[in-house]
Amino acid sequence: MYLLNRIQRHRVNYTWMIVSLLLVASLPFLLFLGLYLKSFLLIHDYHLSDLLFSRVWKPGSGKFGFYPFIVGSIWVTLLAMLISAPICLLTSIYVTQYTRKRFLRIMHPAIDILAGIPSVVYGVWGILVIVPFISRFVGPLFGVQTLGYSILAAALVLSVMIIPFILNILIEVFRTIPVELKEASLSLGATQWQTVKSVLVKKALPGIIAAYGFGLARAFGETMAVLMVVGNVVKLPKSVFDPGYTLPALIANNYGEMLSIPKYESALMFAALILLAVSLFFNLVMHFFIDRYNKFSA
C-alpha cells in the first residue's frame, strides 16, 4: 500500500514539474507573442521605419514617432554607462588585487544593499539630491539654466543603480583569474599595475564586456527612477541638461490614455515590444560572451 503511494507521489511530483517547466520555458515566447499581437494594430498600419525614426508624437492625430523616446533612452543609458563603467572597473580591480580579503566583506553587503533599494526609492533620492544638485551647481558650472530634471539627472541616478550588477560580475571575473597568471607576470619583473593592465584585463576582457552588457540592458529597461527625474518632455534633447523621455517612461506615464484610444494602446505595447527585443538581444549577445569567457578561462 505504501509502495503504491510512493509511485503515486512520484507521478504527482513529476506532473507538477513538467507543467511548471513548460510554463517557464514558454515565457519568453509568450511575452513576445502577446506583445506582438497587441501591437499588431499599429504595425499593420505604419511602416516600421516610420515608427522608429519619425520624430512626431501626436497620438491624438495618429502620429506615432518613437524616435524621441528611443533617442532619450539611448542618451540616458549611454551616459549612465559612461559614468558607471570606469568606476566599476577601477573598483573591481582595486578590491580584488590591491586590498585585503577583509575589504570584500564590506563591499559585498554594500553592493547587496545598493541592489536591494527599489527603483522608486532611487527616484526619491534623485529628486531629493540629484535634481537640486544639477540645477544649483552643475548647471551654473556650465553656464546652463536648468530645472534639474534632465537626461543628466536620469543618467546619474541610473549609474548608481547599475553599479551592483556590473560590479558583482567584474569582481567575480577578476577573482576567478588563476593566480598563476598573475604570479607568472610578476616573476617576469612586471609591477602589479603593469600586470593588471597588460595581463589581467586582457584575460578578463570577455567577462568585462559581459558585465557592461548586463549593465546596459538593465539601464535601458529601468522605468520608475528614470521617470521621476528625466523631465518627461517629448523633445529631442540637445544637451544633457535638457529634459528627455525614455521608452519605459513613455509606457508608464501614459497607461491611462491607453484605454481610450485603441491605437495608443498598440503604440505602448509596441514600445514594450521594442524593450523586450532589445533586452532579449542583449541577453543573447552577453550569453555568447560569457560562454567565450568560460571557454577561454578553462
Binding site: 507538477w16 511548471s20 517557464v24 573598483t91 554594500a110 544593499i113 539630491v129 522605468t223 524593450l275
Partner: protein, 285 residues
C-alpha cells in the same frame, strides 16, 4: 622602471581608491538622505491608518493601505513563484542529470528571461488581464509580479542546487529512493538555507517593483480585502504622494520611502540570519 610608468601607476592607484570609496560614499548619502528626510515625517499615524479623504492634499491618514497591500501582493507572488519555480529548479538538477543538452537549453532560456525589464511584464500582464476579463486587482498584480520574479527565483535556486555533491545522490539512490524523493526530500533539505535566501530575495524584488504593478494592481485607499479588487502598493503610494503640490504630503512620501526601504533591509537581514541558522543541518563536504 620609467618615470612615466611610475606616475601612471600612482595616478591609477589614486583613481581606484577614489572610485571605490565614492561608491561607498554614494551609498552612505542615499541611506542618509532617505533616513533623514523620512524619519522627520514618520509617525504612528502614517503607519496605522489608511488615507482619509483629501490625504493627498494634506488631510489626515496614513499608508496602511499600501503597506498591507504591498505585503499581501508580494507574499502571494512569492508563494506562486515558489510553487512554480522550485519544481523547475529541482527537475533541471535531479531529473535531467543525464541530458546535458536539455539542461543547457533550459538554463539558456532562463538566461534569456532573466534581465527583461519589469515594465515589459507590466505591459504583458495588462494585456493578459484584459484578455482574461480581469479588472485591475490584487490578483492581476500578483500574477504579473509572479512572472517577473520567476526568473530570479529559479536562477537563485538553480545555483544553490548545483552545489549538492554527486555522492549524496549516489548514497540516496542506493537506499532505494526514486528521483522525486531525492529531489523533494534530500536536495531541498541539503540546500534549505539557499532556498530560503532565494525566496526572500524574490520577495524583496516583488515588494519594491513599481512598473509591474502600475497597470495591473490599480490603486485604492482601502485595505486589501479581496483578490478581485484593486490594491494599493508602497511604490505607487510613494509616487502619488510625491506628486502632490503640498509639501507636507511630499514629506510623507519620504517617510513612505523609508518604510519601504526598511522592510526590504529587514527582509535581507532576515535572510542572512536564517541562512546561518539552518546551516547546522546541512552537511559540509
Amino acid at each position: 622602471m620609467k618615470l612615466s610608468g611610475k606616475i601612471e601607476e600612482k595616478v591609477f592607484k589614486v583613481l581606484m581608491v577614489i572610485a571605490t570609496y565614492s561608491i561607498l560614499a554614494v551609498l552612505a548619502i542615499i541611506i542618509y538622505s532617505i533616513f533623514a528626510k523620512g524619519i522627520k515625517a514618520l509617525s504612528w499615524e502614517i503607519l496605522s491608518q489608511v488615507p482619509q479623504g483629501g490625504y493627498y492634499y494634506g488631510k489626515g491618514g496614513g499608508i496602511l493601505n499600501a503597506i498591507l497591500g504591498s505585503l499581501s501582493l508580494a507574499f502571494g507572488a512569492t508563494l506562486l513563484a515558489f510553487i512554480v519555480g522550485l519544481p523547475v529548479a529541482l527537475y533541471i538538477n535531479v531529473f535531467l542529470v543525464r541530458r546535458k543538452k536539455l539542461i543547457t537549453l533550459f538554463r539558456f532560456i532562463l538566461d534569456l528571461v532573466w534581465g527583461i525589464p519589469s515594465i515589459v511584464y507590466g505591459a504583458f500582464g495588462f494585456s493578459m488581464m484584459i484578455m482574461l476579463g480581469l479588472q485591475t486587482s490584487l490578483l492581476a498584480g500578483m500574477l504579473t509580479v509572479t512572472l517577473f520574479i520567476l526568473p530570479i527565483m529559479i536562477r537563485s535556486m538553480d545555483e544553490i542546487l548545483q552545489t549538492v555533491p554527486i555522492g549524496l545522490s549516489e548514497a540516496t539512490y542506493s537506499l532505494g529512493a526514486n528521483k522525486s524523493e531525492l529531489a523533494f526530500k534530500i536536495f531541498t533539505r541539503q540546500t534549505i538555507s539557499g532556498i530560503i535566501t532565494a525566496i526572500l530575495l524574490s520577495f524583496g524584488r516583488a515588494i519594491g517593483d513599481a512598473a509591474s504593478v502600475l497597470f495591473t494592481a490599480g490603486y485604492t485607499d482601502n485595505l486589501p480585502n479581496s483578490l478581485m479588487e484593486p490594491v494599493a502598493t508602497l511604490p505607487l503610494s510613494i509616487f502619488f504622494q510625491l506628486s502632490s503640490p503640498v509639501p507636507a504630503v511630499q514629506d510623507r512620501a519620504y517617510a513612505s520611502a523609508l518604510v519601504l526601504t526598511l522592510i526590504i533591509l529587514l527582509v535581507s537581514l532576515f535572510s542572512r540570519g536564517l541562512g546561518k541558522r539552518y546551516h547546522k543541518t546541512k552537511i559540509n563536504f
